[in-house]
Symmetry: C2
Subunit: 389 residues, 2 copies
């Protein structure tokens, strides 16, 4: 006997492999089951590894099913879970789906141990709560990954044996697709955790080094914030200039570490209470190169290091360490340079009062094309005019 | 007409979803095809995203197939690739598999544009090289993911239409499983890259801070190396003591950052050329707490921070900052403490000569149970006796 929805469901199940968001996937599956098999509803109980419990996802069919409160999560001592987890009991029905009517007859007909009887009664009670006619467990190796629950058919007919067999195969596909999505999600979460860890550690260490320079407290954090704002604006203005999520990551790191080389400058110079003499200025100007020396061994930071190395270059070639000119200066450095200049101008030092934002912007516009990259300045000025700085 | 290997291949294809190592997966598949379909050989040409080329994986069957040199990678201008990539040409055979004999007849019978003729000839030539009777392309959306090539059957019979249809479905499953594995692998590689980036950046920044203290050059790197050695040994000795890969990660970070708080101590004290007075010692002793203050905002480092905070506690309770005793001191800190003590003892300072390894070990054994955790010391001494320190 042919099942009319079989082909459709099979091919849908296959394309699920590449859906890697578990929640989306599960919702897709229950919705699809309700539509194609034409049941009143379908539900999936899915194992949560971290909690050792099972979470319910329900698709309401035409008539709907209200999940009783507190039933969205099931502990592993729930009869429904225990029944399919305890292997001896699984064998009661030859590993086949549990059909409500059959289980009820089984209970009436046979002599069964009191303990098993209680378990089956518990199972039937759970099926009643969910208004489920059949339950299909799915395993990966020996682990119960989940249980598919199907309600009555819309046309009132019973499920045939061929349909039950088909659901067993389908449930196993579905469970594998879900397990795959979960593994994928776990990996993604670990990656996110790791990226956060990296950025937060870099922020903490950069801030600690920043704190050595008493007069620039918070400088690194401010320059980082401004740099990222400028980059986002450049991305909006001119798509090919900054076209890459990677660029933002590199800029973030470069801005955080742009002054890292100051750790190699004596505190006496960094914290000097008056203007610096020629010799002291020379030492200070070594900080980009010291920064490069510190970071150079880190291959993955190659792009970010450009920002550290060249953030004191000037558009007209009068900067250091290499006297690069115009577009020779990497964009990542040109951005940090504008942010750095603005923050230095607006910060009060013991030997001079900081400028107001307005005055600093005037000064930045004035030096555009001389000290600073005009394209970056123009993005910066826009941000200022919109009140974003 | 039933195909005898169909069920086996279908269920094998399903379980592939959870094989996430692309190379292993592809080898599994070609081997399986040769065994179950009983062909002389099978091959898969698989798209490499980064290269825009296709890589060949071959399974030799009973009679074997020698891949001609230089054919392991195919550029996208290869006729075999172009034929299945250029949509109009795909339609020539109604998106069905290309059967060598049929394509040959097609070429003889019909009037075809010269360009198409050349392409089909090129395709046939490629199939001859691989001794392939049929080619089955597989797509994800509009992208050609790969091509399955099958050689002659061992029994010499032709492939039936039902078999060809089945291969089309199977190839699509296989391609999706491979794509899934590739995506998984990409994510894993990015995670590895990120972990490396984090550790290398932490090493670089820790070393830079280390360099502030002129007398302890390389101290951080040495303490980190020793700490990890000790932890590995403890893991071998007593499985429940250090039972977690995570522990090693935390220890690695903690050891790298154990002296990070020194960044808050004036250089004048760190680099003093003589013994320190009471006041100066008090400042130096603040470094674990300063380290904690720097790292505390990083939630993910909670476990590692324990190593930073308590690496100057002593087993008899006479240490700082909290005077913890015995097993109150977290293992992560007890390990760093032994490594730190050993490195301090064996390093020459301006005001005292460093001890020899032998003398330092004697001293460490002597203070075991007073200053240092006896369990950690015993692992350390073992390593020394084996010449590993």
């Amino acid at each position: 006997m042919a099942i009319d929805y079989k082909k459709e469901l099979e091919s849908a199940a296959k394309s699920m492999i590449l859906v890697h968001e578990p929640d989306t996937l599960i919702k897709m599956i229950v919705r699809m089951l309700v539509q194609k098999v034409k049941t009143k509803h379908a539900a999936i109980l899915l194992h949560q590894q971290d909690m050792n419990s099972y979470i319910l996802t329900v698709s309401r069919g035409a008539l709907g099913l209200k999940v009783p409160k507190g039933f969205a999560r099931m502990d592993s001592d729930n009869a429904l879970i225990r029944f399919f987890r305890e292997h001896n009991d699984r064998k009661l029905f030859n590993n086949a789906p549990v059909v409500y009517q059959e289980a009820k007859k089984f209970l009436a007909k046979r002599r069964i141990e009191a303990k098993t009887k209680r378990l089956i009664k518990g199972l039937l009670y759970q099926m009643e709560i969910f208004d489920a006619l059949i339950c299909i467990p799915s395993y990966f190796r020996d682990d119960l990954l989940g249980i598919l629950l199907l309600g009555r058919k819309n046309n009132g007919k019973k499920f045939g044996r061929d349909e039950l067999d088909f659901f067993v195969a389908l449930t196993s596909d579905v469970a594998m697709a879900i397990r795959n999505a979960q593994l994928f999600r776990e990996l993604e979460l670990e990656l996110e955790r790791n990226k956060r860890l990296f950025i937060h550690t870099t922020i903490a260490l950069a801030a600690a080094i920043d704190a050595k320079d008493h007069y620039t407290h918070g400088h690194t954090a401010r320059v980082t914030g401004l740099s990222l704002e400028i980059a986002h604006r450049l991305m909006q203005k001119k798509k090919d200039l900054v076209d890459d999520k990677k660029f933002l990551e590199y800029l973030h790191i470069a801005a955080l570490l742009h002054d890292i080389g100051k750790i190699g400058i004596p505190e006496a110079i960094l914290n000097k209470n008056s203007s610096l003499d020629e010799q002291e200025l020379k030492r200070i100007r070594e900080h980009p190169s010291i920064g490069v020396a510190i970071l150079e061994p880190i291959k993955e930071l190659e792009e970010a290091i450009l920002g550290v190395k060249y953030h004191h270059e000037k558009y007209d070639g009068s900067g250091y360490p290499e006297g690069l000119k115009g577009k020779q200066i990497p964009l990542i450095a040109a951005i940090i340079s504008v942010a750095d200049t603005f923050d230095a101008m607006t910060t009060t030092r013991p030997y001079r009062q900081g400028l107001s934002k307005e005055k600093a912007i005037e000064e930045i516009k004035r030096t555009s094309g001389q000290q600073l990259d005009p394209e970056v300045v123009s993005a910066f000025v826009e941000l200022y005019q919109e009140g974003k700085i």
